[in-house]
Symmetry: C2
Subunit: 327 residues, 2 copies
DNA sequence: CTGAAAGCGCTTACAG
DNA sequence: CTGAAAGCGCTTACAG
């Protein structure tokens, strides 16, 4: 049904060899201007387009990057996705996209990437087993974890310096003389939630100030419920720090529904700076993850691995942005 | 640097021909159980994986679908993306993902898909020029517009029956005895906004009731601004119908910021039923687009075109869901 | 600057 | 059930 026009047909019509047609479509190859024009004309007329698959087979370069993503729920990752595809496109890569439902990427999804010979894999918001990392290493295909980190995994990782960020937030909260301090975690098995908790709680531990830890799961609904429950138990915190913005937004809405004044009675702080956080109705104070920078670093690590082996861990800083939910 | 293990190497080690190795990895091909086991073992040991590129070259099937998406801002499309990739994966397709910044998909993006010989293209939340549609038709590659429609374009289209939906909403509003009725449009050059406006406005036109049209652009910010402006001019509508949920949410927040009681003073209705609309703090009444059904239809149309030519337009119905922003 | 030829890693008639 | 061989559409030394 579908007939692919090949270089041979163009060659015949243009009265050149197939090699010459190929050269016309290979940047940098030497072809006389006259020949080039003729070939281009015929190609246009025949609707010819070089077959990337055949080309990849011989050049061993596919220009494809596998991108796996979880948690399509969190708007943060949509921004991430948009930036990744744009930057990757600008560098001439295509994106093979996989949406995964598990916290850990499955063998099946990785096989998929391998079959297509992707030149690199980016995993956002999910983890890999060390088995898979090893397998990938054997196949010499570089992997970068985006916004996740595991010191036992021998692969690249790019994330925010969560510990330091949470520490800064704690410092900020502390200078506001808060006593009743609440941290709502994200999914507790994620490095992001663990690190943010560590940075936040440790600061106060050193000062002998207790922090109430509530186990969330990075969803709005859970944070809403937890906060509501808190208020119903007559516990009105001075500040709630949510492990991400969605969490903080859930807490914020629960506070509002209970008619707690923000920031007067309770302050709320998030993490990510998703678009919604700056909506007039929320105006959430939060930690800005520098997505662009993180994406750039991720791509840089991947490209670096095309020349040399080994893996690197990159932590970017980001910054606190003060809006209306903190004093 | 990267060395691909080929079927030849497996064949040598397993003491069979390369053809046999190939057969082991071709479902339905006849191989003796004994041979199969031996080959599988060696393959495992060598970390062998059939090369999808080489396979595609000869079978003329790539199992790749090109998915182009705009407006990564609207959460509706994230849900769409998640469902598409899952359903496509379940059918054995890979997704080549492109994020586009223009309302109209560019030639460049399409070329990209063509080079990789995708078996079908899905365009969500964006349009195509008729030029490109023609080119695609010449290349026999089926296209389906998702949530967009243009009667002049000779390609498949799947969308909600927006006219009827908006008509139903109008009917609902009407039985509540509203007089001051506002419609906030989306991007005015989109079929979705146009159709929703048509269905809504025509109903009232027939009754001689005027509808105030405000030109939005499918963003929260714009809707917030327009609504705020309205209230500041002392015009408090009985109902605001936003062309999508994000628009309605912007209007809703503006109303709240002006301390207008919802739904008592002003009712608000959206379209899409994104996750946020059911957040406790919003509880937006809206029209549910049946995404799953729409995605299924889209894939069905694409697969249909592998057997027969021609194009179809599918309209699904969806339903109104009453929450707290309407009486 | 250009052509003939080898080869990338597969599938699939064809023959046995 | 299995192997030898042709061929998918390209790139790229090699030779001229």
């Amino acid at each position: 049904m579908k007939r692919i026009v090949s270089a041979i047909e163009v060659a015949r019509l243009a009265n050149v060899s197939q090699s010459t047609v190929s050269r016309v479509f290979t940047p940098g190859a030497s072809v006389s201007e006259k020949t080039r024009q003729r070939v281009l004309e015929v190609a246009e007329q025949l609707n010819y387009q070089p077959n990337a698959l055949a080309r990849s087979l011989i050049t061993k370069r596919t220009n494809m990057i596998g991108l796996a993503m979880k948690d399509i729920q969190n708007p943060f990752y949509h921004e991430v996705l948009g930036i990744f595809t744009n930057k990757l496109k600008a560098k001439g890569y295509s994106v093979l996209f996989v949406y995964t439902e598990n916290e850990e990427i499955q063998q099946e999804e990785i096989n998929h990437f391998l079959e297509y010979n992707v030149e690199g894999i980016i995993i956002t918001d999910a983890m890999l087993s060390s088995n898979i990392v090893t397998k990938l290493k054997n196949n010499h295909i570089p992997v970068t974890l985006f916004n996740r980190y595991d010191k036992n995994l021998e692969c690249n990782s790019v994330s925010c310096d969560n510990i330091n960020a949470a520490n800064e937030i704690a410092k900020y909260v502390d200078h506001l003389y808060c006593e009743k301090i609440v941290f709502i975690t994200g999914k507790i098995n994620t490095s992001t939630s663990q690190e943010r908790q560590e940075g936040f709680v440790n600061y106060f531990k050193n000062k002998g100030i207790p922090v109430e830890i509530l186990e969330g799961d990075y969803t709005y609904e859970r944070a809403f419920f937890l906060t509501k429950e808190l208020i119903e138990k007559d516990y009105v915190p001075d500040v709630i720090f949510g492990a991400n913005d969605i969490t903080a937004l859930g807490a914020l809405d629960a506070l509002k529904s209970k008619e707690i004044k923000v920031p007067e009675q309770t302050m709320v702080i998030g993490f990510d700076d998703i678009k919604m956080s700056s909506w007039p109705n929320y105006n959430l104070s939060t930690w800005v993850q520098p997505i662009e920078e993180m994406v750039d670093e991720t791509i840089r690590l991947l490209e670096r691995n095309q020349r040399e082996t080994g893996h690197k861990t990159v932590k970017v800083q980001g910054k606190f942005i003060h809006r209306q939910t903190t004093k």
